[in-house]
C-alpha cells in the first residue's frame, strides 16, 4: 500500500474515532442550544449557599456557581481543532502600549496566566491537545465569566481548569497544604508537577488568606499568582481590536468613544459607543434641549464599526455554544472588517505577516542549531583540514548570523527602535556582536578558531533564549524604555558596552583554547588541531607528522604565541570599547542624574571588569609566561563581565535596575 494511502486511511480512522467521541457532547450541546438559546450546561448548578451574605460575596468569584458550564473537554478540543485562526491571528490589537498582532498578545497573555505559550489540560482523562494560544485567548475572553441565559447565573468554563501558574515551588506547596492536601496525596503530587492552580482553588478562603500575609519575598511570589489571576480576569477587556473611532456617525458629529482620541477600543466599547450614538441620532431634532449635532461628511468607518460590533457579539454567542461553523463565520467577518475601520491607523499586511513569522519561529532562535553545527564543522576543519568542513562550517555560521540578524532587524521593524531595551534584547545583541566580530576575524585571518569561538558563543546565547524562555521576563516587544528615550548618548553608551561584552565573550573562547593548548597540548595531535585552528596549516602538518627530530614544544610555543596574539587583539579592543562605554555612561549620568560617578553596583562592576583587563595589559610586563597570565585573566574577566551583566541586575539593587 502506498505511503500516502496509508496515511490517508489512518487520518480518516482518527477522524471517525474523534467524531464518535465528540458526538455525544455535540448532540447534547445542540439540544441544550435549542432549549436555552445560548449557553450549554453540562451539569446543573450546585445548590446556592444558604447564607445570603456569603452567597452575595461569592458572586464576586464566579467560579463558585455553575462551574462546569460549557463544553466537555473532548468537545472543547474538537472545537479548537475545527477552527482556522490564521486570519484572526494576524489582526492588530493595542496592548502594552503598542499595536501588535493578536498572536503576539495571545502568547504574552498565555505566558502570563499559565506560564507557557501553549496550554494543554493536566487532567489525564482529557485529550492531550496543545491549544493554540489565540484559541485560548478567545476562549478565556468568552468563557471565563458569562451570564447563563437559562439561569441568569454567572458561569465559567475555567473554574476547575488548572491554568493559574504558580512559579514558586515553596508557595505551590504551601497552597496545596492550605487546601487540605497532604504530601502523600496523588492530587498533591499531580498539581505540584502541573505547577498550576484552578481559579476555584485560588479563590478558596485558605488560599486567599495565605496570599495576604508574609514577608517581602513571599509577597513577590504571591504577587506572581495574583498577577496571573488578574491577567486571566482581564482577558476580554484586554482585546483592544478596534482602531480609534471617528467622532462622527451617519454624517453628524457624535461624542468620541474615549477621552483619549488615539486610544484603541475593545469591540465591547464600540458596541457601547454605538448604543450611545444611536440614542443621540434618534433624538427629536425639534426638541429644544436636544444636543446640537453638526452634519458633516458621510463616514463609512462607523458603519463598518457597527458590523464589527455585531460580529463580535455573534462570535461570543457562537463561541460559547461551541458551534464551529458559526464561530468561523464570525471570525472571518471580523478579519475582513477590522482592517478597514481605519486603514491609516491599521498596521499593514507586511508588518503583521512579519510578526507572525517572528512569533512562529520563536524569534529565529532556532539559529542556535546553525551556530552549533557550524562551530562543530569549523572544529573539524581545524582538526582534519578538510575544505568541505571549513566551507560547511563557514556557511552555517553565516546562516546563523543571518538568522540572528533577522531576529534583531525584525524586532527593530516591529518596535520602531533599535532593540537593546531589556535583558532579552541586550543579550541577543551581545551575542550578535561577538559572533559578528568573530566571523570577520575568522574570514579576514583565515583562523578557524575565531569561528569556533563565535559559533559557540552564538549557539549558547540562542539556546538560552530558546530553551529557557522564563529566564527573560521581557521577551515581548515593548515600548521604548523611557529612560533610554531621553538621550542618543545613552543609546551609544549601551551599544558600545554591549559590543565590548561581545568581544569579552569572544576573548573568553580564545583564552580557553589557549589554556587547553597550554595544559593539554603537549601531544602533537592536540597541538596540530589547535594549529590548524589558528590557520597555521604548515605548522599543523609538521606537527601531525611523526618527526622525531623536531621537538614537540617547538610548534606548541609558536602556536601559543599565535593564540596569545589573537586573544590580545580581541581583549585590547574590548578594553578600549568598554572604557569608551563607561565614559559615555558617565557623561550621560552627569547630565541626567547630576553625578558622573555614583558607585552604583553596575558602574562599580563595569569598572572592575575594565580593571581586570587593565591588569591583563600591565601584568604582561612583569611575568615570564605572558600568554598564560593573559589567558587566565581573559577567563576571569569573562566571569566578572557575566556577573556585571546578569548577577548585578538580578541580585543587587541600583540605578541600572532596568538594564
Amino acid at each position: 500500500m502506498p505511503h500516502r494511502t496509508r496515511a490517508f486511511l489512518l487520518a480518516t480512522a482518527c477522524l471517525l474515532v474523534a467524531c464518535a467521541a465528540v458526538w455525544p457532547a455535540v448532540s447534547a450541546s445542540a439540544q441544550a442550544r435549542t432549549q436555552i438559546d445560548g449557553n450549554a450546561r453540562a451539569e446543573p448548578a450546585p445548590a446556592p449557599n444558604a447564607n445570603p451574605e456569603a452567597a452575595a460575596s461569592l458572586q464576586q468569584t464566579p467560579h463558585d456557581q455553575d462551574a462546569h458550564a460549557g463544553l466537555s473537554p473532548t468537545a472543547h478540543a474538537a472545537f479548537a481543532q475545527a477552527l482556522d485562526l490564521d486570519g484572526f491571528r494576524k489582526l492588530a490589537v493595542f496592548a502594552g502600549g503598542r499595536v501588535k498582532i493578536v498572536d503576539t498578545l495571545a502568547r504574552e497573555h498565555l505566558q502570563g496566566v499559565t506560564g507557557r505559550t501553549k496550554w494543554k489540560s493536566y487532567d489525564p482523562d482529557d485529550p492531550a491537545y496543545a491549544y493554540d494560544p489565540v484559541f485560548m485567548l478567545l476562549d478565556m475572553a468568552f468563557g471565563l465569566q458569562y451570564v447563563d441565559p437559562a439561569t441568569g447565573q454567572l458561569s465559567s468554563r475555567y473554574a476547575d481548569r488548572v491554568v493559574l501558574y504558580v512559579e514558586s515551588t515553596t508557595l505551590r506547596r504551601d497552597i496545596l497544604l492550605a487546601l487540605g492536601l497532604t504530601q502523600d496525596d496523588d492530587a498533591f503530587k499531580q498539581q505540584m508537577t502541573a505547577r498550576r492552580l484552578t481559579p476555584r482553588q485560588y479563590f478558596s478562603p485558605p488560599v486567599q488568606a495565605l496570599l495576604r500575609g508574609g514577608d517581602l519575598t513571599f509577597m513577590t511570589q504571591a504577587n506572581q499568582v495574583v498577577g496571573a489571576w488578574n491577567r486571566l480576569a482581564a482577558t476580554r477587556p484586554l482585546l483592544h481590536l478596534s482602531p480609534p473611532l471617528p467622532a462622527e456617525r451617519q454624517g453628524v458629529a457624535v461624542p468620541p468613544a474615549s477621552e483619549d482620541p488615539d486610544r484603541w477600543l475593545t469591540l465591547d466599547e464600540v458596541g457601547l459607543w454605538l448604543a450611545q450614538t444611536d440614542a443621540l441620532l434618534q433624538q427629536d431634532p425639534t426638541d429644544a434641549e436636544a444636543v446640537v449635532v453638526t452634519p458633516i461628511a458621510q463616514s463609512a468607518d462607523a458603519e463598518l464599526a457597527v458590523a464589527a460590533s455585531q460580529a463580535w457579539q455573534a462570535l461570543a454567542v457562537a463561541w460559547r455554544t461551541g458551534d464551529a461553523v458559526a464561530t468561523q463565520t464570525q471570525l472571518d467577518r471580523l478579519v475582513g472588517l477590522l482592517p478597514q475601520l481605519d486603514p491609516q491607523a491599521y498596521p499593514n499586511e507586511t508588518r503583521r505577516a512579519a510578526e507572525v513569522i517572528y512569533n512562529k519561529s520563536d524569534r529565529y532562535a532556532f539559529g542556535w542549531a546553525a551556530y552549533a553545527i557550524g562551530a562543530v564543522c569549523l572544529l573539524l576543519a581545524a582538526a582534519t583540514r578538510r575544505l568541505i568542513a571549513a566551507t560547511l562550517g563557514s556557511l552555517l555560521l553565516a546562516v546563523g548570523l543571518l538568522l540572528h540578524l533577522a531576529n534583531i532587524l525584525t524586532r527593530t521593524y516591529l518596535s520602531g527602535r533599535w532593540p537593546i531595551h531589556n535583558q532579552y534584547e541586550s543579550f541577543i545583541a551581545v551575542a550578535f556582536f561577538a559572533v559578528l566580530v568573530g566571523a570577520i576575524l575568522m574570514w579576514a585571518r583565515r583562523q578557524w578558531v575565531f569561528g569556533v569561538a563565535a559559533g559557540g558563543v552564538g549557539a549558547a546565547a540562542l539556546m538560552f533564549a530558546h530553551f529557557l524562555p522564563n529566564v527573560f521576563p521581557s521577551k515581548s516587544v515593548a515600548n521604548d524604555m523611557p529612560i533610554l528615550a531621553t538621550s542618543n548618548i545613552l543609546y551609544v553608551h549601551v551599544n558600545v558596552v554591549l559590543f565590548s561584552y561581545g568581544l569579552i565573550a569572544l576573548a573568553f573562547g580564545l583564552s580557553t583554547t589557549y589554556l587547553m593548548v597550554n595544559y593539554l597540548g603537549r601531544s602533537r595531535a592536540v597541538a596540530a588541531v589547535a594549529a590548524a585552528g589558528v590557520g597555521d596549516t604548515q605548522l599543523a602538518e609538521t606537527l601531525s607528522e611523526d618527526d622525531a627530530k623536531r621537538p614537540a614544544t617547538f610548534g606548541r610555543k609558536r602556536l601559543l604565541g599565535d593564540l596569545d596574539t589573537a586573544q590580545l587583539l580581541v581583549m585590547q579592543l574590548a578594553f578600549w570599547l568598554l572604557g569608551l562605554g563607561i565614559i559615555l555612561g558617565a557623561y550621560w549620568a552627569d547630565h541626567a542624574w547630576g553625578r558622573w560617578w555614583a558607585w552604583d553596583p553596575k558602574e562599580t562592576w563595569a569598572l572592575i571588569t575594565w580593571i581586570v583587563y587593565l591588569i591583563a595589559i600591565h601584568a604582561r610586563f612583569g611575568v615570564k609566561n605572558r600568554g598564560l597570565v593573559t589567558a587566565w585573566l581573559g577567563v576571569t574577566g569573562f566571569f566578572v563581565m557575566l556577573w556585571c551583566y546578569w548577577g548585578v541586575n538580578l541580585l543587587l539593587s541600583g540605578l541600572h535596575s532596568y538594564a
Binding site: W596, I615, G622, L652
Partner: protein, 871 residues
C-alpha cells in the same frame, strides 16, 4: 626593559636602603597590579552583600575541590591506569573527568545553596547587608567609597603610576599614547578630588504655584541635603529661632542602638548653649534604623523616671498573640484597665479585654449560653440594676458564681429579621432585630472615645406603649441608646413614624430610619446586651492589686461560656493561654507582663530585617530617634525635669503647607518653654528662589504608561549687589534631562559653576481616590487631586570639565598605544632596514624589541593558499 629604565634602575640601586626600596616599589608594575586588585576587591566588598560573598567563596571552594578530584583522576588515568593507551582514549578519559568535575561542582553548589545556605537564619536576615552597613561602620555607599582606605589605595596607585611613568617610559612619539593615558588618569584624579570635596546634592519640595496654601506663590529657597541628617531645635519665644545641628558622621544608619549604646549630646554642640541657655539638655539616647510607621503602646510603671508620658498609673497588662513556643511575638498590645477604650482590642476574630471589675449583671451576660449549633449572635435582656443582688467574685480556690437569687436573664439567639418576646421583671418586651454590625459612630462618652464595638439595632416595644429603636452594644452594654418619637423635639415629624415598617437590612442603610427620632439613654428598665460569639473572647479581670491573679472569662465561636481564675506567676514572667486550639503552630495568648501602676508609652516597633526595603535602608526614611529633653541645674547638675520623645524622620523639616513652620513634636519644659524638635536632613539656603509653575506627566499615545515628567520652573534671584529681584527665568526640567541655571551671584555653598535642577519625584495623588475624582480638573484644565507638587533635585557640578578632559585623554591615548604605536614601530623598522640593506634579496631585519610592549599584535602571516581538498 627600556634603555631609560636600565639607566634609572642602576641609579636607584645606588640609593640608601629606605629610599631604594621606595623608589623600586613605586617604579614597579607589580605594585600597580596589586593596588588595582585591591581596588577591585574593595568594590566587591562595597557592592555585594556579605552572604553572597560567603556563597561565592563557598562555590569557589566546592569547584576547587572537585577540580582537585578531577586532577587526581587525570593523573591516575595518565600515569597508572592507562599509561600506554592511545591519545583518543586518554582524551576521552580527560573529557569525562572534566565534564564530571564541572557537573559535580555545579550540582553540589546548587545543593549546598538550597539546603545549607538558604536554611541558615542569617541568610534571610542579612541578605542585603553589605560591609559598610555593619555596626561600627554605618556609612552610605558613597561614604564608604570615599573612606580613607579607598583614598589611600587610589593615592598610592596614582603615585605609583606617575613615578613608574617618569622612571620607565621614554618620552617619545611612539609612547605618546601611554603617556596620554597616564596623564589623563592623573587629571581625572585631580578633578575627582575637587569634585567629591565640593559636590552638593539635595532636593526641594515645590508645591504647584496655583495651589500653594502659604501665600508665597510657590517660591521656595531651601534645599535639603541628599544624605546628611540633622536635628532642628527651637524654643518658643527664644530669639535664636530654629537652630540646625548636623548629625552626619554621628548618627548610625542601618542598625538599632539602645540608650546604653548611644548618647549624642546635642546640647554640647557648638552654638546650642548660646541659643537656648545652659539649663536645657537635649540628648539622642538611641536609634531605631527602620521602624513601623505606627508606634506600639507599651506600659511602664509610673514610678519609673524614664516615662515618656507622665501620668497616673493604673493596672495594665501587655499581651501578644503567637505560637506557644519561642519568644513572645514582637507585635504586642498594651491594655489598661483605667479607661474602657484602653481595656481591650479586637484582632483577627479575637477580643481581649482587661476590665477593672466585672459587675454581677455583666457576669451574667458573659456567662449566658447560646444554643449549640445555632446562630453565633444573641441577646441578653435583664431588668434594672436594683433587681440584681451582688454576685461573688472569683477566687483562686473557687470560680465566681452568679448570685443565687438573681432572676435568670432572658437569653436568646438573634439574627436580623428575628421577632422575639423577652420576659423581663418589667413584663414582656417585644424585640425585632433590624440589623447587627459595627457601631457606626465614634463614642463621645469620656473614657470611651477611641473604643470600637459591635451593636444590634432593635425595634423594641412593651405593653406600656413604650416603643423605640435600641442600639444594644456588645462590649459596652451600659452605652445602649434608645431613639424614640418625641413630638416636642425640633426635628420631630408631625406624625409618629411607623416603626413596624422598618425592614431588617444592613446597618448603614437602616440609619435613615432614625431621622426625626430623639436620641436618649437606654430605658433602664430593659438592659439589653448583644452577644457576638463570632469573636473568640478573653476577658481578664484582676483579682488583686498586684495583678498576680485574674478572673478569666472565655466565650465565643461556639465554645461554652466559662470563667476560671488564673494565676500570673509571682515575678510576672510570661504565661501563655491557648486560643481554642492547642495544635502545633496554633496561636496562643501570651501574657507578657503586668504592671500595677502602668502608664502608657509609645515605643517604635522595629521592622524585621527580611521585611525592609533594601533601597530604603540607611536613608533614615523609617528611622526613629529617642530623644531626652531635660532641664538641669547648671551649678549642681541636678535634673529638674526630664521627658523623652520619639522623633520620626521628616524628609523636609518645614511643612510646605505652612509657611516658616517646622513639623515638630514638642516638649513643654517648665522654666524653659516649649521646645520643638524635628529630625530631618541638613538644609541649605539658596541665593535664589524657585517655584513650580506647572507640572505634566506625559504618556505614550493611547496608553497610560508614563513617558516623561515635565516640571515647568521659574527661578528668581536678587540683582547683583541689590535687594531687588531680577527678572524671572523660565526653565523646564524633564525626567533625566535637567535644567541648568547660571546665577549672577551664587553664594555658598553653590559658589562655583552652575546649578542643575532635575525632576525627581511627583505627586501621583491619593491611591484611595476613585479614578474619576483623581483625574478631576479645574476650569483652567489643571489637575486638582494629583500632580500638585514636585520634588526638584538641586546640585552643583564642580570640576566636571577637568574630569571630562582627563577621561578624554584616556580615551584618546588607548588607541594610540594599541594601534598607532605598533604601526610606527613597524614603519621605523622598515625604514631602518631599507637604509641598512638596500638589496631586495637581503634577509629582513629583526623588528626592534620594544620594552614597553611585550608582544605587539603580529601582522597576519601570509597564509598559504589551501590545497584543493584541505585548508
Amino acid at each position: 626593559m627600556s634603555e631609560k629604565y636600565k639607566r634609572v634602575k642602576q641609579a636607584d640601586l645606588a640609593l640608601p636602603a629606605p629610599l631604594r626600596w621606595l623608589t623600586r616599589a613605586f617604579s614597579s608594575i607589580r605594585m600597580a597590579v596589586v593596588l588595582l586588585t585591591l581596588v577591585a576587591l574593595y568594590g566587591l566588598v562595597a557592592s555585594v552583600p556579605l552572604p553572597l560573598i560567603a556563597a561565592g567563596a563557598s562555590y569557589l571552594l566546592i569547584g576547587a575541590g572537585w577540580i582537585a578530584v578531577a586532577a587526581v583522576f587525570w593523573w591516575a588515568l595518565a600515569r597508572a591506569v592507562i599509561p600506554d593507551a592511545p591519545p583518543s582514549a586518554k582524551a576521552t578519559g580527560y573529557a569525562i573527568a572534566g565534564v564530571g568535575a564541572v557537573s559535580a561542582a555545579v550540582f553540589t553548589s546548587i545543593g549546598f545553596h538550597q539546603n545549607v545556605l538558604t536554611a541558615q537564619p542569617w541568610w534571610t536576615t542579612y541578605r542585603a547587608t553589605t560591609f559598610y552597613r555593619l555596626p561600627g561602620i554605618e556609612m552610605t555607599e558613597l561614604e564608604f567609597y570615599s573612606a580613607w582606605p579607598m583614598k589611600l589605595l587610589l593615592a598610592l596607585f596614582v603615585c605609583n603610576m606617575v613615578w613608574a611613568t617618569v622612571r620607565r617610559i621614554a618620552f617619545n612619539l611612539p609612547n605618546l599614547g601611554v603617556l596620554t593615558v597616564h596623564t589623563g588618569i592623573v587629571v581625572t584624579a585631580v578633578g575627582s578630588i575637587a569634585y567629591s570635596s565640593l559636590k552638593l546634592e539635595g532636593d526641594m519640595l515645590l508645591p504647584r504655584a496655583d495651589l500653594d496654601p502659604t501665600g508665597q506663590q510657590g517660591f521656595r529657597r531651601y534645599v535639603y541635603d541628599r544624605n546628611d541628617p540633622a536635628l532642628y531645635v527651637s524654643v518658643d519665644g527664644a530669639p535664636a529661632g530654629v537652630q540646625m545641628f548636623p548629625l552626619a558622621g554621628k548618627l548610625p544608619r542601618y542598625n538599632d542602638y539602645t540608650p546604653d549604646q548611644l548618647a549624642i549630646p546635642i546640647s554640647e554642640e557648638r552654638g546650642f548653649k548660646q541659643s537656648f541657655g545652659d539649663q536645657l539638655r537635649v540628648t539622642i539616647e538611641g536609634f531605631y534604623s527602620y521602624a513601623h510607621a505606627e508606634m506600639e503602646l507599651d506600659l511602664v510603671s509610673a514610678s519609673q523616671q524614664d516615662a515618656y508620658q507622665p501620668g497616673d498609673g493604673a493596672p495594665g497588662l501587655v499581651v501578644a498573640i503567637g505560637p506557644k513556643s519561642g519568644p513572645a511575638p514582637q507585635r504586642k498590645h498594651a491594655l489598661r484597665a483605667a479607661r474602657p477604650d484602653e481595656q481591650g482590642f479586637i484582632e483577627d476574630g479575637l477580643l481581649v479585654e482587661m476590665p477593672l471589675q466585672v459587675p454581677p449583671r455583666r457576669q451574667a451576660e458573659l456567662l449566658a449560653e447560646l444554643p449549640r449549633g445555632g446562630p453565633l449572635t444573641g441577646l441578653v435582656v435583664q431588668g434594672p440594676e436594683a433587681s440584681t443582688p451582688p454576685a461573688t467574685q472569683p477566687t483562686p480556690q473557687a470560680p465566681a458564681t452568679p448570685p443565687a437569687t438573681t432572676p435568670e436573664p432572658w437569653v436568646s439567639p438573634a439574627i436580623p429579621g428575628d421577632a422575639l418576646v423577652a420576659q423581663t421583671p418589667n413584663g414582656p418586651l417585644r424585640i425585632r432585630v433590624l440589623s447587627i454590625g459595627d457601631y457606626p459612630f465614634p463614642f463621645s462618652t469620656p473614657g470611651y472615645e477611641r473604643a470600637q464595638d459591635v451593636c444590634a439595632l432593635l425595634h423594641i416595644s412593651d405593653d406600656r406603649g413604650y416603643e423605640a429603636i435600641r442600639f444594644a452594644m456588645h462590649r459596652f452594654p451600659e452605652l445602649g441608646q434608645d431613639f424614640v418619637y418625641d413630638p416636642e423635639s425640633p426635628a420631630a415629624t408631625p406624625e409618629p413614624p411607623d416603626f413596624a415598617a422598618i425592614e431588617p437590612g444592613p446597618l448603614p442603610q437602616r440609619l435613615a430610619a432614625l431621622q426625626g427620632l430623639q436620641r436618649k439613654d437606654a430605658d433602664p428598665r430593659f438592659r439589653i446586651a448583644l452577644l457576638d460569639d463570632r469573636l473568640l473572647q478573653y476577658r481578664l479581670a484582676p483579682l488583686d492589686p498586684q495583678l498576680t491573679r485574674f478572673a478569666l472569662f472565655m466565650r465565643g465561636r461556639g465554645l461554652p461560656a466559662m470563667n476560671q481564675p488564673i494565676a500570673f506567676s509571682d515575678n510576672h514572667a510570661q504565661r501563655q493561654l491557648p486560643l481554642g486550639s492547642t495544635e502545633d503552630g496554633a496561636p496562643w495568648l501570651h501574657l507578657v507582663k503586668a504592671v500595677p501602676d502602668a502608664v502608657p508609652v509609645m515605643r517604635p516597633v522595629p521592622v524585621d530585617k527580611e521585611n525592609r526595603k533594601p533601597r530604603e535602608e540607611g536613608t533614615h526614611l523609617h528611622a526613629v530617634l529617642p530623644v531626652a529633653v531635660q532641664r538641669v541645674n547648671p551649678a549642681t547638675g541636678e535634673t529638674l525635669f526630664s521627658q523623652k520623645v520619639h522623633l520620626r524622620h521628616y524628609l523636609y523639616a518645614d511643612d510646605y503647607r505652612l509657611p516658616s513652620s517646622l513639623v515638630s513634636p514638642h516638649v513643654d519644659v517648665p522654666g524653659v518653654g516649649r521646645v520643638n524638635l524635628t529630625f530631618s536632613r541638613v538644609r541649605y539656603p539658596l541665593d535664589f528662589f524657585v517655584r513650580l509653575t506647572d507640572f505634566e506627566r506625559e504618556v505614550f499615545p493611547g496608553s497610560d504608561d508614563a513617558r516623561d515628567f515635565i516640571a515647568s520652573l521659574q527661578v528668581v534671584e536678587r540683582q547683583p549687589g541689590q535687594r531687588t529681584l531680577a527678572a524671572p527665568v523660565e526653565l523646564t526640567a524633564r525626567m533625566n534631562n535637567p535644567a541648568h541655571f547660571n546665577p549672577n551671584a551664587f553664594a555658598w555653598p553653590f559658589y562655583l559653576g552652575s546649578a542643575k535642577l532635575s525632576q525627581n519625584q511627583w505627586d501621583p495623588g491619593d491611591p484611595a481616590l476613585a479614578p474619576a475624582e483623581k483625574s478631576r480638573r479645574d476650569p483652567q484644565g489643571r489637575l486638582v487631586n494629583q500632580q500638585r507638587w514636585s520634588v526638584v533635585g538641586v546640585s552643583n557640578n564642580i570640576a566636571i570639565h577637568v574630569i571630562a578632559a582627563g577621561l578624554t585623554l584616556v580615551l584618546l591615548g588607548i588607541p594610540w598605544a594599541f594601534y598607532v604605536k605598533p604601526w610606527m614601530m613597524k614603519r621605523q623598522s622598515r625604514n631602518a632596514a631599507a637604509r641598512k640593506t638596500p638589496s631586495a634579496n637581503a634577509p629582513a631585519p629583526q623588528e626592534p624589541k620594544d620594552p614597553d610592549k611585550p608582544r605587539t599584535p603580529a601582522a597576519p602571516a601570509p597564509t598559504p593558499q589551501p590545497e584543493p581538498a584541505t585548508v
